[in-house]
């Protein structure tokens, strides 16, 4: 006895992603979720950390690739390793806590100890193994790791393309995004973590969804000054969404804020006038003041990198699937490492204003996504419509482009999903 309808059974996974729509079961079917953990998260490059989160030898961060706990750690020679967080003896995790610093990883169960590169260093009372323990083969499982623009990715697959090829045209947007350091290196300085009862792809879609902004974030828009409100009124503006290939896409909401090192002579927005004066009083040159102030508000675009990371205006959005109907999100705040305290405080306050469980934006997004999941349990044979902006889509050197509120980015992500799931 199955609870699937005849129509659903007749659809292959590939059938469930059409050019202009995807099947509702992509949000609701636990069997599809299970396959995603293998065919998506264990088969492509997955973002695990920003380099600033593990600044020194011995710095580590615990995270997940799909549902598998991994440790991201910097060894004594500054090399970054991504290790499965599982003792090779009887599987206990060898590292706990979100971030920290250590000299080694010691399993709390029987005391097997591993060095920062994952090698098995020693086991207590080895005599019982009669010298037959193959220590060289029992290190923590170490994954392939590559880095671009400070963004560290890992993959369970040794035979896929290099990270830079996977990122492709997304790389130039990553470079642009990092300019919000305002001349200083970018630093992740904490994060808001929250969960919502819904599928991870609902959140993935949202990062290139300009269409919802004026409606869902009306209460946020009511809380900002007129100039900012006008800047954020981008749905009818000249912005665009571009498919960058491999499931990546960029949504340019505020075209004049694509390159933060350009237009430094433009008038300083009223909301940053006080900050500019504070920086001038601290003897920063006019050029530095303008560069820093322009960078404080973040970039005018969201870059969605498939499957789990986005460079979203002024923060990193990290997506962590938990179950078919449960997703964890981290919004990591970005500061200017070594930059002026006043500018960094401004960035922290801007982040708190919109993000987090008490922010003026995130809770409303979360409510909308929760309602998508709830609604998706009704009419299981229906489709999620993703045809907005399809009519006006045009080819570009990097992919395809359409208007700012087009669902082009979502279509790009689902085509990559289809490619991986049907491989």
């Amino acid at each position: 006895m199955t609870n699937k309808t005849d129509a659903q059974q007749a659809l292959t996974l590939g059938d469930r992603v059409q050019a202009d729509r995807v099947h509702t079961s992509l949000y609701t079917d636990p069997a599809i979720f299970e396959q995603e953990m293998d065919k998506v998260f264990s088969s492509t490059w997955v973002w695990v950390a920003h380099a600033s989160e593990i600044p020194e030898a011995g710095s580590y961060k615990n995270t997940y690739i799909g549902l598998q706990p991994v440790i991201v750690v910097r060894d004594r020679k500054q090399k970054v390793h991504v290790l499965l967080n599982r003792c090779r003896h009887r599987a206990a995790t060898v590292c706990e806590g979100k971030k920290g610093k250590t000299n080694s990883f010691v399993c709390p169960y029987h005391g097997w100890s591993y060095s920062l590169d994952g090698a098995l260093r020693g086991v207590p009372h080895p005599e019982s193994y009669a010298d037959q323990l193959e220590k060289g083969e029992l290190g923590l499982v170490s994954l392939r790791v590559e880095e671009y623009a400070g963004m560290i990715f890992a993959t369970m697959k040794n035979d896929i393309e290099p990270l830079v090829d996977y990122l492709g045209p997304a790389k130039k947007w990553m470079d642009l995004f990092m300019k919000q350091g305002g001349g200083y290196p970018i630093k992740v300085a904490g994060e808001h973590r929250f969960r919502f009862p819904g599928n991870w792809k609902i959140q993935l879609e949202n990062t290139t969804d300009a269409y919802h902004f004026p409606l869902v974030h009306k209460s946020f828009l009511s809380s900002v000054d007129k100039q900012t409100e006008e800047m954020l009124d981008f749905v009818t503006g000249s912005g665009y969404v571009e498919d960058l290939g491999n499931g990546h896409s960029v949504m340019v909401m505020i075209p004049q804020l694509v390159d933060l090192e350009e237009n430094l002579d433009a008038p300083i927005p009223a909301r940053f006038a006080e900050l500019a004066d504070e920086l001038r009083a601290e003897k920063y040159s006019e050029e530095e003041v303008r560069r820093i102030v322009r960078a404080v508000g973040g970039s005018g675009f969201n870059l969605n990198i498939f499957p789990n990371i986005a460079c979203s205006m002024a923060f990193f959005r990290v997506l962590q699937p938990v179950a078919v109907n449960e997703t964890e999100i981290h919004h990591a705040v970005i500061t200017m490492d070594g930059g002026p305290q006043a500018a960094n405080q401004a960035r922290l306050r801007l982040h708190e204003h919109f993000q987090g469980p008490m922010g003026f934006g995130t809770p409303d997004d979360s409510e909308a996504w929760e309602r998508v999941q709830k609604g998706a349990s009704s009419g299981k044979d229906l489709w999620i419509m993703l045809n907005r902006g399809l009519a006006g889509e045009k080819p570009t050197p990097d992919g395809r482009v359409s208007d700012v509120s087009a669902e082009t980015g979502m279509r790009a992500a689902y085509q990559q999903w289809k490619k991986l799931m049907t491989a």
Partner: protein, 158 residues
Amino acid sequence: MNTELITQVAAFIWQEADMLDHGEYAQWLESWTADGLYIVPIDPEQTDFANTLNYAYDNAEMREKRVARLGSGESISTSPVPRTVRDVSRFRVLANDGTNVSVRCAQNLREFRKDVLKHYTADVSFELVRSGTSFLIHRKVVRLINSTDTLQGIGYIL
């Protein structure tokens, strides 16, 4: 032990709790000094709130905006409005110079909204300033015991 002072600060803090549970935000906004700060930190050990990321770090302007948002009907996460009941107890006066009083207390809050009952426990610190026969809040820091966990939307004032 100065039980008279504890009675005074408890009466003030209970009144604040009652205002928040009953949505009397206009009066709540008047309970603060002009430079007062309402802070909900993430890191329970943190003391440098200005230079770290918090859930809320509200000066007078942000408190007014927060209150305006809660009552605006523009936010889908706060309509319907969550219902809350909070108990505040375990008052301890940490410092008192006759004008400024530092108080620490425990807060247990229950929230109900859309079929879900939630529970938030917090250690709350107040820095109060005497004002006539009562006090004004100079600083309120709400340290949720699960602040480092993943939270869901909190559509009211803790």
